[in-house]
Symmetry: C2
Subunit: 416 residues, 2 copies
């Protein structure tokens, strides 16, 4: 895409109340626009990143058998009364339409997916079922202040699984864990993201979160380096006398870190299926409760977390897998021969399936370099009279200091 | 995909209040599930259709320079007061969060996109700008009763254009018309969809709708066969003494038809830019009003319209471009040799990039044929001991009566 055509620009002055690193860089770089507290528009650059994160998540969830659907945001009050959450769900946004119709704006979809799957899967032969969606959710955060980490409107992947037995749930839970590990690895978060023991509520000893270490994270976790797992501080404080030790190996030498929750998985067991009286018929026709699990990943939150983790003082450093473009081609000066070469190179890259942002604007070298650093595309290519004298282009990776002159004929090999 | 794995099934009994053809077939076929009046879940088959429609629309809007964003559903009351629509927009859903925060659930996005583009495009050099999204919208329809044709929560493509002059708007309006024609043509609706003159409101003589002829349509249009355009009955009734004549050639011999509105385009001119005091600086630094257009297509409504148009008494007949799968492979009987051949064929089709729904269920031939007709996939392939005796598969197109035995080696050529 030609940067001269992109309708957004980088921005110098951003709303004073935006204190978080992710909101600051994402607004400055033209990835998101703040509509109001906790509510953002995703601009062309930002929407490309969201789509890439979504596709990675989609591939891995499809791989473990997830079937994609799209459930509505508007949810009937009656369903939320059946689960006793209409008055008890923290931050539920309620909508009144007319005199007697009340709805929630879904912050999660157990109230919709449970009666849905009940309609179709009534026999042991129909189970297990794995259903997911990537969809917009709503929460009334009192004081959203962490950019994309905590929004009032946000994008989630939520997967729900339905089983005939706890053993079958356990088996799938392990597959979901493997899928989550792959997702974080593909996002370059593998090394700093920990499966974390958290409170399990009434039905399970533990739930599990995935926590990415980051100094601006809202959570505090205690990491066991031996097991490569962690414990959420909240769990430690809630467990009577449990103290701070690894729930797997008993190790007490845990490392405290701030972290961002980037996913959670939960054995719901019969918590929701009982509310909807959802039973299945076993081999003998006997009715038994359906066992359920749920698995969430905040897509827009992940985008914020990536910026919190991958940036320097000049801007964002996108991992290749989710960068809005792979290459940022900058043309310096207004030499016509250079412009012509740049056009040829731009088209050559496109023809080879490389996504390029082509900075063809009439701006100074300083402005172009600063914008490139802020936007954070992995491969920066500079073409100028100086580089062209040597039949070359200057190549710099966003995450390295080193620049090198590369023959135009060699570029494809280096950045493909 | 294996049909035995698909968590949905075809359904015999559907909610009594679902009178529309599209809702009946879509619910029976397992494409959508009704959550409440005017609110549906898109099931795996239906979500595939939605994605295909979206991608066709996206390609054509990208082709005319549209830049994709995603704006929020939650919109501040203040913006709607600035445009004087908070109390005057028919069917606006309002949300109150806490004591003093009021929002709308966006039924359209002029109130968001106008101040957004104002932030970035302040000079004549920055214009024109074309921004669009494919996003969930909300309307409080009093008695939604037409399935996907009129929902309280629905998916829209909305494109907005911003210009320095009315001439420039006119030029882009023509390009948008061409894009719309291409979209309807790709959906097989070209021959029965008419650009239709409708009321233009306060700022323009006309707006334009795209209307698809269908006996269950909510609109009445008058078609001029010579010009291949139409006039909405509402416009005829509102024009003093205008009577029913073609606005282009004056022809009075118009054909009355029922039709479904499948798109609309509108010259907003300065209606919204004035409310947000959005002006641009021209070549001389003089401030001038920005001129605006908007262009909508209901994605989920299009899905409903396609079913209204393409069905018979047995079920849906999807156009190839949006069918959930290209081929429906049915295996009859429980012969092991047949099953083995079917597996080989299934994998061969997949390897060749053909999307296949493989009916590998233990069901009778009657059930399988009825489900295939209901679901409406374009190419039905039946493999049974009888066909296999001749080294063949039976091929039938959903929109034709004729069946033919086709050598397994020939299938790819015929359905690719």
């Amino acid at each position: 895409m030609r940067q001269s055509q992109l309708f957004t620009k980088t921005i110098k002055n951003i709303p004073a109340e935006e204190k978080s690193v992710n909101a600051q860089f994402l607004i400055k770089g033209g990835f998101i626009d703040k509509v109001m507290s906790g509510v953002y528009t995703f601009l062309p650059l930002g929407w490309r990143v969201i789509n890439k994160i979504e596709n990675i998540v989609r591939e891995e969830i499809n791989f473990i058998g997830g079937q994609e659907v799209s459930m509505p945001a508007l949810q009937p009050k009656e369903n939320w009364e059946l689960t006793n959450r209409w008055d008890n769900f923290d931050a539920l946004i309620k909508v009144e339409i007319g005199e007697d119709s009340k709805f929630s704006l879904g912050p999660t979809h157990e109230e919709i997916v449970t009666p849905l799957v009940k309609k179709f899967a009534s026999s042991y032969k129909d189970l297990p079922v794995y259903v997911y969606q990537i969809q917009t959710k709503f929460r009334n955060e009192a004081r959203p202040k962490s950019g994309l980490l905590r929004g009032r409107e946000f994008i989630m992947k939520d997967l729900y699984s339905f089983h005939t037995s706890e053993e079958d749930l356990d088996k799938y839970y392990t597959r979901a864990e493997a899928a989550y590990e792959k997702i974080y690895k593909r996002l370059n978060l593998g090394g700093i993201t920990y499966k974390t023991f958290a409170s399990g509520g009434a039905f399970s000893k533990y739930s599990h979160e995935y926590q990415t270490v980051s100094p601006n994270g809202e959570d505090t976790i205690y990491i066991c380096d031996k097991c490569r797992i962690a414990v959420n501080k909240e769990l430690i404080e809630s467990e009577e006398g449990g103290g701070s030790k690894c729930p797997e190996c008993g190790n007490k030498d845990l490392k405290e870190e701030k972290a961002i929750e980037v996913g959670n998985i939960f054995k719901l067991k019969t918590k929701f299926t009982e509310c909807f009286n959802y039973k299945y018929a076993d081999e003998d026709g006997k009715l038994k409760p359906v066992i359920m699990g749920c698995y969430g990943i905040g897509i827009s939150r992940l985008m914020g977390a990536l910026v919190e983790v991958f940036h320097d003082d000049k801007g964002i450093i996108w991992p290749e897998a989710v960068a809005p473009f792979r290459a940022h081609l900058l043309i310096l000066g207004d030499d016509k021969a250079v412009a012509k070469k740049a056009e040829v190179l731009y088209n050559k890259l496109l023809d080879n399936g490389i996504e390029v942002l082509f900075d063809d604007r009439e701006e100074s070298a300083g402005v172009k370099f600063a914008d490139a650093d802020l936007i954070g595309i992995p491969y920066r290519l500079v073409i100028s009279p100086k580089t062209l004298d040597k039949g070359s282009v200057e190549l710099k990776k966003r995450d390295q200091e080193r620049m090198e002159l590369v023959k135009i004929s060699e570029i494809l090999k280096l950045i493909k």
